[in-house]
């Protein structure tokens, strides 16, 4: 994370960001002097001590069809081959409400605020029960989307931007945030290929943008993309061209992650199990 990198340059002993190296006393000293803003977007999370973090949180953001899940599968294999323990997270995967959200989406009876808050519940349940325990044990967490998608979805539905970011004030700041940027038109083709259909929510049909599914998808995803452009600057996203080949995108991801984790070699060829993803 850039803020943390700056801090590191200023005082090498105060590295808080889960680099494998720092010694315990240096870390304890660092914690006393640092503000919660380094670990959280706003408020500190209840009952959590940031000094316990020894892992790294790496976020991959991007719209449906931007290639996130493909890249995460490949990165997980690469990191494991480099000897790093990896945990993944993603939207609607919490034990607490993951399935409840699926049901709400299927029923389509839910209003935008309730849905936004259910997603927030899902997010924080994963932070507290999946991501934090992993980060405490030195694991690399690969997050398939993060608060940015959730904030953008709320904002394009007319929920106040400050409200949405306030909701996620207690979210952990990632060490790296990648944004796989693609044109909605490209994403449409990729998504359609996967399921031979476009889902109600992917196309933002609750927003009544167009009866034409294609236009509804493109307009909705364009709105989301605009929100991402706003956030990209503020939160130092590393923007990658999601329309480049899988191997080219993967190479760029590996380079930045290798830098973050102190891995020297970034050579990687997927195993037979994942070879089909490598186009």
């Amino acid at each position: 994370m850039p803020d943390q990198e700056k801090e590191k340059n200023a005082a090498a002993t105060q590295s808080p960001d889960g680099q494998p190296a720092p010694s315990a006393p240096a870390k304890a000293a660092a914690v006393a002097e640092e503000t919660p803003a380094q670990y959280f977007f706003g408020e500190p999370l209840v009952g959590f001590d940031p000094s316990e973090i020894t892992g790294s949180l790496i976020v991959i953001e991007g719209m449906d069809g931007s290639g996130r899940s493909t890249q995460i599968a490949l990165l997980q294999e690469w990191l494991e081959s480099e000897g790093f323990a990896v945990q993944t997270s993603g939207l609607r995967r919490s034990n607490l409400v993951g399935r409840d959200i699926d049901e709400l989406l299927a029923k389509n009876a839910v209003t935008r605020l309730t849905l936004a808050l259910m997603y927030a519940t899902d997010f924080f349940d994963q932070i507290e029960h999946r991501i934090l325990p992993a980060l405490r044990s030195g694991t690399v967490v690969l997050a398939d989307r993060f608060i940015f998608t959730l904030i953008a979805r709320g904002v394009v539905r007319g929920i106040n931007r400050d409200y949405m970011s306030g909701l996620y004030a207690m979210a952990l700041r990632p060490h790296l945030t990648f944004w796989l940027n693609v044109r909605p038109e490209t994403a449409f083709g990729r998504e359609f290929k996967k399921a031979q259909a476009i889902s109600y929510w992917e196309a933002g049909r609750d927003m009544s943008l167009s009866h034409d599914l294609y236009w509804s998808f493109v307009r909705y995803q364009t709105m989301i993309k605009r929100e991402f452009e706003v956030m990209a600057k503020r939160h130092n996203f590393i923007e990658l061209d999601g329309e480049a080949s899988v191997s080219a995108v993967n190479k760029q991801l590996r380079q930045r992650i290798a830098e973050q984790l102190g891995i020297r070699a970034t050579k990687y060829t997927p195993s037979a199990a994942l070879a089909h993803l490598w186009r």
Binding site: L104, M118, M170
Partner: protein, 255 residues
């Protein structure tokens, strides 16, 4: 139109529908901006608030007033998640708070706001102040909590039933055999004894409620008074602060 207009809107019966019934989360909307009226009761467990709101509701129902009653933590959409979270003790202060906010948002967007727009008298047994008191007692940052509920209409009257800790706690402990885990604040790890944990938790909540009396314009009522005297006070205040005639079509016709 409500959002763009900072002045209080006159309470006139509306003929044409307002342009937008959608709330704008992030800006508190005074309920006086709506045609309807919102009365809420708050207080610790055992303060007598539910009994009093029930009696107020009966009084208004018998009078034929147009009203809707809503309870904390009752949205069917969110219920199963809350129940599972509590049963399996999966909830942390943060997720406990968020799940209750989701429940409230569902009732707010689908009941409270449309009914206030539709010129109803809405009675709420517990409102956002319950979350402010209880979740702050659990350690959630107050600023974060205030933001979380910024979409909620501000009530016309907020009754705060205040009873001394021992009185309220004893009412609950004598009447109910077993306290539930989260209800007793067991998740805070203050005591292994449920009754003792409950007492400590309620003390913290009471403290949080007291902090809001001025900032949130609570009407404080003494929860130790006899039920009928307290109800008389409550009815007098409602009648003086709210133009009840507006919610009773029959009374208007006979004029």
């Amino acid at each position: 139109m409500i959002m763009e207009n900072p002045e209080p809107v006159q309470k006139q019966p509306r003929v044409e529908p307002p342009k937008s019934t959608l709330p704008q989360p992030g800006r508190p909307v005074p309920s006086r901006a709506y045609p309807g009226a919102l009365i809420v009761v708050e207080g610790t467990d055992g303060s007598g608030k539910s009994t009093q709101l029930y009696l107020l509701k009966r009084w208004l129902e018998i009078g034929g007033y147009r009203l809707h009653f809503t309870e904390w933590n009752s949205s069917p959409l969110v219920k199963s998640a809350t129940r599972r979270g509590k049963q399996r003790r999966l909830l942390t202060p943060t997720t406990f708070s968020l799940l209750h906010a989701a429940d409230f948002a569902d009732r707010c967007e689908r009941q409270i706001m449309p009914l206030l727009q539709g010129d109803y008298l809405v009675l709420a047994d517990r409102y956002i102040y319950t979350a402010f008191a209880r979740d702050a007692a659990r350690g959630c940052p107050p600023r974060w909590l205030r933001n979380l509920y910024r979409f909620a209409p501000v009530p016309d009257i907020t009754f705060y039933f205040r009873a001394p800790l021992d009185v309220a706690v004893n009412r609950i402990l004598s009447g109910r055999p077993k306290l539930k885990y989260y209800e007793a604040g067991m998740d805070l790890g203050m005591s292994y004894d449920r009754a003792e944990s409950f007492r400590l938790f309620q003390a913290r909540i009471l403290e949080e409620y007291d902090k809001m009396v001025d900032s949130d314009s609570f009407v404080v009522l003494d929860g130790t008074l006899p039920v009928n005297r307290l109800q008389k006070q409550m009815r007098d205040i409602v009648a003086s602060k709210i133009d009840l005639k507006r919610f009773a079509p029959r009374a208007q016709e006979s004029e």
